[in-house]
């Protein structure tokens, strides 16, 4: 079980554990804004999607009836839209204005490359005991998939959502049948997002034995040297070879931050699982 040790922890040979920065403060806030608004959207969207299930009406009544639930859904949608636009601005800033290297291409980029394809097959061979475990760089293929699934999902769900919200306006550019289609697209894509995040993302990122019970790096921003080297071997080795490892050294997360992150993280995971269970009961009943 890999957990980040609190400040002052030491490695086996007595040296203080080193921590490396993986995510900036802005990136951690972005993830928090993302999962908060996503949980809000899921909690207010699922009762509408499964409005005839036994829990939907009770839930809608609990938050103040159908008027409130639609209002809250739109509220979280606006929050998520703003977060998405801020992210686009950050990418534009880093990649285009600052001309930072490796944003759009290279081993540390989110953009998929040939190595990701090889990693998918290599990883699967390792699952079946047919080969060695591949070494991953800054972002593994399933992390890139998570990122692009959310990226694509926000465009698709966001566009179809706004098309319904402002249907008479969108009707100026869209054919009539598209107004029917946007609901299908919105609810199916959202269902995929809910099922994917609350089962696959949770397990792949947080609950798998390597990270169990939660990968704290998205909350604290730093990870221990051992974890860095183990999980993102290529990035570690590349930085070590260039002698740039020291640039990434951060401070050990304080105990309060660890505890706070655990409370927030486990609450989010708990809500997500509850929504997953409700979704599955509604889907299969």
């Amino acid at each position: 079980m890999t957990e980040l040790e609190p400040a002052g922890a030491t490695t086996k040979n007595g040296a203080p554990e080193k921590y490396y920065v993986r995510f900036t403060r802005e990136q951690r806030y972005m993830h928090a804004a993302l999962f908060t608004s996503f949980l809000g959207l899921a909690a207010t969207g699922l009762p509408m999607r499964f409005s005839e299930s036994f829990w939907a009406r009770r839930f809608a009544t609990a938050v103040g009836g159908f008027g409130s639930i639609l209002f809250l859904h739109k509220f979280f949608a606006v929050v998520l839209t703003i977060a998405f636009l801020l992210h686009l601005k950050e990418i534009f800033q880093r990649g285009v204005i600052n001309r930072e290297k490796g944003v759009f291409w290279g081993p540390a980029s989110m953009v998929a490359n040939w190595k990701d394809v090889k990693d998918i097959f290599g990883h699967m061979r390792w699952f079946l005991g047919l080969g060695p475990k591949p070494k991953f760089d800054r972002y593994a293929y399933w992390e890139k998939f998570d990122y692009w699934a959310v990226f694509w999902g926000m465009i698709v769900i966001g566009f179809s959502g706004y098309a319904m919200w402002f249907a008479p306006f969108f009707a100026h550019f869209l054919p009539g049948w598209a107004l029917n289609a946007v609901l299908v697209i919105h609810s199916e894509e959202a269902l995929l997002a809910v099922l994917f995040i609350f089962s696959i993302h949770f397990v792949n990122t947080h609950l798998r034995p390597d990270s169990f019970p939660m990968d704290m790096v998205i909350f604290t921003g730093v990870e221990s040297e051992a974890e860095f080297e183990h999980k993102r071997t290529l990035e570690f080795e590349r930085n070590a070879a260039r002698g740039e490892l020291e640039k990434k050294v951060g401070i050990a997360p304080p105990l309060w931050l660890l505890n706070f992150s655990k409370v927030v993280g486990f609450t989010a995971i708990f809500i997500g699982f509850m929504l997953l269970v409700l979704t599955l009961t509604a889907y299969f009943s």
């Binding site: 079980m1 890999t2 009762p47 509408m48 999607r49 409005s51 005839e52 939907a56 009406r57 809608a60 009544t61 103040g64 009836g65 159908f66 008027g67 639930i69 639609l70 990883h123 699967m124 390792w126 699952f127 079946l128 005991g129 475990k133 399933w142 699934a149 319904m164 249907a167 008479p168 306006f169 009707a171 100026h172 869209l174 054919p175 009539g176 049948w177 598209a178 107004l179 029917n180 289609a181 609901l183 299908v184 697209i185 199916e188 894509e189 269902l191 995929l192 099922l195 994917f196 089962s199 696959i200 397990v203 792949n204 798998r208 034995p209 390597d210 051992a226 183990h230």
Partner: protein
Amino acid sequence: MNQAAVKTVDSDQWSVVRKTGIRGQGSGINARIALVVLSLAFLAVAPRWLGAQDCLTCHGDSSMTDANGHSIFVDQTKFSSSIHGSLECSNCHADIKGYPHPDKIAPVDCKTCHADQADQLKSSVHADTREHPCTSCHGNAHEIFPKADARSAVYPLNVPKTCGQCHGTNGMAGKHGLASVYPNYIDSIHGFALSKEGLLVAANCQSCHGSHKILRHTDPASPTYKSNIPQTCGNCHAQINADYQAGVHGQAIARGDLKAPVCSDCHTAHAILQPTESAFRMQSTPICGNCHKDKFSTYRDTFHSQLGSLGGYVETARCWDCHQAHDVRPASDPSSPINPANLIATCGRCHAGANASFVQYQPHANARDRKLNPGLYFVRLFMNLLLASVLTFFMLHTILWLIRSRLSQLKNRADNGGKHD
């Protein structure tokens, strides 16, 4: 009865008491005095026609009972102000010719005077006069008031309670396998108007069912027979009836097609709700769906339905918001709100800014019908394939990963106590 008093009664007097079956219940003394006076009066003037005052000598005593213990008291004040107050007792109790009269007297036959009503009753559901004597609705025989009098059991505001004695939860209705309708009625918009506002014009039981000639709803002559219901409700709701008659449902009924809905099919017979209330808006769409199954099923796929079935204060479109409630017409009819020429106005009632392209939206699109809605069909197919393939791939991927990861973690731990796989 007071036992001590009985023992001290003079045996002659007591025999009179026993013979006539008259006993003082609370006060033996009063009864005895009354009997003595009565006997003397009787001897002095007999035989002659008995007047009400003569009868009230005994029957005016509120403690008097017959041999079975039933009260034989007649409230003189109420009787004299009742609709029959000017009559002599013997007008109705015709078999009593003198005093003392026999223990058992013939039941009063109201039809002697009320022949029309008796005739109507004979063909009605209440024909059995032993089960349903006149008094079961009109109340105490000696306290019957005109129906416009608030004291009357058949005064409009009292009718539901009167009928409810039998047609309520604990009444005869249950015994005879009839539905208990009183609670439904009293909580309905009619019941509220009557019980809360005291509206005399509010529909009560007899407004729809009639009074003496109540017939089963299966009887074509009944005002509650299916094809007669629009006219029955139309007695008050004239404009709505006119609208209904102009619509497809009214015309179908007029043609004799009894499958078409009448007022009570949507509004129910007794538990009628205010149609703008959310409770009614919630329950009514499935009612249309009872017949229009395909339209209901496609409606349920839409956002109108999804949001609308969440309850509370519901303002998303229900069937009649677009189709009209009473004057329902096919889309081909130029005056129908769903005629293509009227769609912008109809949709625009909720959707400000509705335009020609906007109203191309299909409120009953079927994403499973490739011929009818090809675009929607392929969008749904694509989304379903996307969902299935992504979830299947990652489900397998995650499960295999979990197993492999755990196995190698355990192996490493056994080897060197390491944390990682």
